[in-house]
Point group: C2
Chain length 546, copies 2
């Protein structure tokens, strides 16, 4: 039997585009003499459709799409994911379903049993778990059809009280199919492979695994669909961060001895590729072409510009240098040099006149109070107004350039440098931003060396340095990682050898700045715990905040 | 047996304050000779603790608090809610638990079975459902202990496949206790009573119901705890929007024939009271006293100011009039008159100078392009910068004045009038804002009549009216209600008789402005479906958006 895996970049709610891509893949599979073509979880709707699932209109459109696709399947079989109505009186209104279509008809509808409801997942918000464990048959092969999480309850720390594959296994299948929507983070590909191989080892069956690829706002899907033979060898691995399509003959599931062994990309390479795809898809799917950003001469905006230029093309990215009286010459020069290296359009717009107009306007209120945070923020906000004015006038999307360390401790101005349609680096710690810069410079100096080596500064008052108000980033980022990614409390972090006062100060900064993060743009998620939909913290709370 | 209900305003993660309030209520109960005092669901942590629940440190602090409280219960029994670790290997790491404490010891730990995971609820994100249905005994009475949703699976459209009270009922209880965290919306009190009475009618048992009161950022808890006798009569109803404490003797569960019958508050009165509590608690719990806001002379900022003045006291609210060249004289006069009526401090700061500085700065880029949206937005953003500068300099929190209709269709400037620490009216449709204004004026003209009667305008260009770009609010709000609150699709709304083009345009505006709402301040939730944590829509989607 010939099985195709169609790894597609879907667009949530864009039924026209999704159906077209699916139909084209079915055509292509037919032309290869394929018996069964497999598409991802909730392929019809895109993943995650979130509260669109609460609209009957949306589910009806999904049903109509499935029926339309079924008509193309007279002489080929298809497995594809879509949300469906739960026909029982009791329980949640929907199922997360996988359709098995052949002979032009829906033959079987499998319902996902294990519904992830943690981090960025909210599936139990919508779906009733499936409780039927059957099997499908095609050309003499018995297929165990599973949906993503259905295979994930296999470790020593089970999150669910049942294991659907154990039930299906009783029907003596020959092949496991798993259709998935498994979002990227820099650890995920490794974890995913290990979980899938564990299943193969347990059930001694070959596994066909299909994932989404492409960005859905903050969620990045890296693809990497695969076929694993029953020895636990990955015999095919589809592309990462790109659409792909392969055909595998079930008679030929031995590893090809000539197969080229791919080198595993580094964490930083993965992050770079994910961010490029994230920016590119955000613009494509919104129907925008051009980005604008403020280029300070510092490392965050430099890395953001380089990524945007790779994602959108240099000619589609406009850099604006917005110097103030506190900007150093080297900042302007570094920024210029970078824009020139990348061949991006840039211009210099001084914020001095507008900054002064505010201090003049506010003179009766501010009187002779000393220069302080309010004045620092005015500068950042004047920059924000100028960038948004250009964005509004010429149809650019403003890219936010804040990093995860800043976002964590609230080192940024709300309605100023925290502005933007999309945060590119909001899930990348400062120390990782430096590594990204070095990665971007791997073949040639794109980002000026001086941008990388000089001490970070917001340049909002004379001789300001980040280290004036924050711990060194080496220390800060490690504490943040323990607190944010690993959910360690103060005692546990201090026990690791970090200074008690620095830990307490850091956690307090994180928790008291939740209100700022509530209003930040969506952040491209590259870590196992990003700010945004996967991290939900009360604002008006009093925990670790004094 | 004498039972006390302690209706308390908890603060999430503020263990010191929560323990103090609980301990004081136990003392008070003892002084009344009470046998059992009942506190709300997750009283120890406050509700909802959200992802703080993922920190072992947080759960350990909850456990420590319970143990501390148990020591106070040598001669009184207590029922109280707290999160606990799940001791089983399988399943989610926590339970949502109710402790039964007597003789200074924890006697029983009940785990919530039905975990709401819809709208603003995310309980299955954290908790494993309880599957043990036992009973507790005190002074010869058998008590069925249930937690909130455990009693809610009673209608014709059951969301869950089990009904915990049916199981507990097999043990032949004498009393039902339900500890809850049931957030306010203007329909909730009515629904809540009807669900509880249905339970009483089904099981023929008296019911003691205890709820939270007070605001937790966007979520407002209205209190209204109650005692229902087995005839289904509400014999005691605790205060709404305030802390309260009552003692009831189980021997005296007949309705008092002299009981004063309270008039049911109107929807608008409920919304007003909820918003006042929401603003007040937001400031109290953050440790702030003073608010600032931009007062335009329009109805939204007028109603916001009146609510803030009631919540915080007139002397704690500063109104800033920020006229431009397009502001009408009547706007400034109406705004002044309102501030005077409320005895709030106000001042006039012209935005002209700063606005002009931007148009001058941007002249090389904008050249001779006609005045448009970019220039309108600059005005709104200049106002934003000035208000935030005053907020930063003097420690005010900026109140956002946008209403739900504007938030829905994106009629507002990001980083301009959409700024603020808290949105007071973001869940109140424009037509409801008018009703609120009339309610505020019920005894005297606080809000100038002219503010209520003049046609709404953003005053960002000459002679602008909201009706230039939006359908009339009467129509718009009805369509929005069908789409947002009732999740009706375009076909269903058009079938109700609304104009097809207006419906399509409206839904498109709602969906394409999701990106703006992503960055708005938290919105006090007063309706059954508010923007914010209870409505989760993808940004980069293509559904009803063309």
């Amino acid at each position: 039997m010939k099985i195709a895996l169609a790894q597609i970049n879907y667009h949530i709610g864009n039924f026209k585009s999704n159906i077209e891509k699916i139909t084209n893949a079915i055509k292509k599979a037919k032309s290869h003499g394929v018996d069964l073509v497999i598409f991802a979880e909730l392929a019809i709707s895109g993943y995650p459709p979130r509260d669109f699932l609460e609209f009957n209109d949306f589910i009806e459109k999904c049903n109509a799409a499935i029926n339309k696709i079924a008509k193309d399947c007279e002489d080929i079989a298809v497995i594809i994911g879509s949300p469906t109505f739960n026909s029982a009186i009791e329980g949640k209104p929907l199922h997360n379903s996988a359709f098995f279509i052949s002979d032009g008809k829906i033959q079987y509808e499998h319902h996902k049993s294990l519904l992830p409801n943690y981090d960025i997942f909210d599936e139990y918000r919508y779906f009733e778990p499936g409780k039927k464990f059957e099997i499908i048959s095609l050309k003499g092969k018995k297929i165990a059809l599973t949906i993503c999480e259905d295979l994930w309850n296999i470790g020593n720390d089970p999150l669910y009280t049942i294991n659907p594959m154990d039930e299906i296994f009783k029907h003596d299948p020959n092949i496991i199919v798993n259709i998935a929507a498994s979002p990227f983070n820099y650890k995920q590909a490794e974890i995913r492979k290990s979980i899938l191989i564990k299943n193969v080892e347990k059930y001694k069956l070959p596994l066909f695994y299909i994932n989404h690829v492409g960005a859905q706002t903050e969620l990045l899907f890296d693809g990497g669909s695969m076929v694993i033979n029953k020895k636990g060898e990955i015999i095919e691995e589809l592309k990462y961060f790109e659409e792909d399509f392969i055909v595998v003959d079930t008679k030929k599931l031995n590893i090809n001895p000539d197969k080229e062994i791919k080198t595993q990309p580094t964490k930083i390479e993965l992050i770079n590729n994910a961010l490029v795809m994230g920016v590119r898809n955000y613009f494509q799917k919104l129907g925008f072409k051009k980005a604008i950003l403020g280029l300070s001469g510092g490392i965050d905006s430099a890395v953001t510009l380089a990524i945007a230029a790779e994602a959108l093309g240099s000619k589609n990215v406009r850099a604006v240098l917005l110097p103030s009286a506190f900007s150093s010459d080297h900042s302007v020069n570094d920024a210029k040099k970078l824009a020139e290296n990348l061949a991006c359009e840039y211009e210099i717009i001084s914020i001095e006149e507008s900054y002064k107009s505010f201090t003049k306007t506010l003179l009766p209120q501010f009187k002779n109070l000393p220069f302080g945070l309010a004045e620092e923020n005015i500068q950042a906000r004047v920059r924000g107004v100028i960038l948004m004015a250009l964005s509004n006038k010429f149809g650019y999307i403003l890219l936010n350039t804040s990093n995860k360390s800043e976002a964590a401790v609230g080192y940024g101005t709300l309605y100023g440098d925290m502005n933007g349609g999309l945060s590119v680096l909001g899930d990348v710690y400062k120390t990782e931003v430096f590594e990204l810069a070095k990665y971007i410079n791997r073949n040639a100096e794109i980002i000026p060396e001086n941008t990388i080596t000089k001490p970070p500064s917001a340049e909002l008052r004379p001789d300001q340095k980040d280290s004036d108000s924050l711990p060194d980033y080496d220390i800060l980022d490690e504490i943040l990682y323990q607190y944010i990614e690993r959910r360690k409390g103060p005692k546990e972090i201090i026990a690791q050898g970090f200074d008690k006062q620095i830990v307490k100060k850091t956690l307090k900064l994180v928790n008291t700045n939740e209100y700022k993060r509530y209003q930040t743009p969506p952040i491209l998620r590259v870590s196992p715990k990003a700010f945004g939909m996967g991290r939900r913290i009360p604002i008006v709370a009093k925990y670790l905040s004094r």
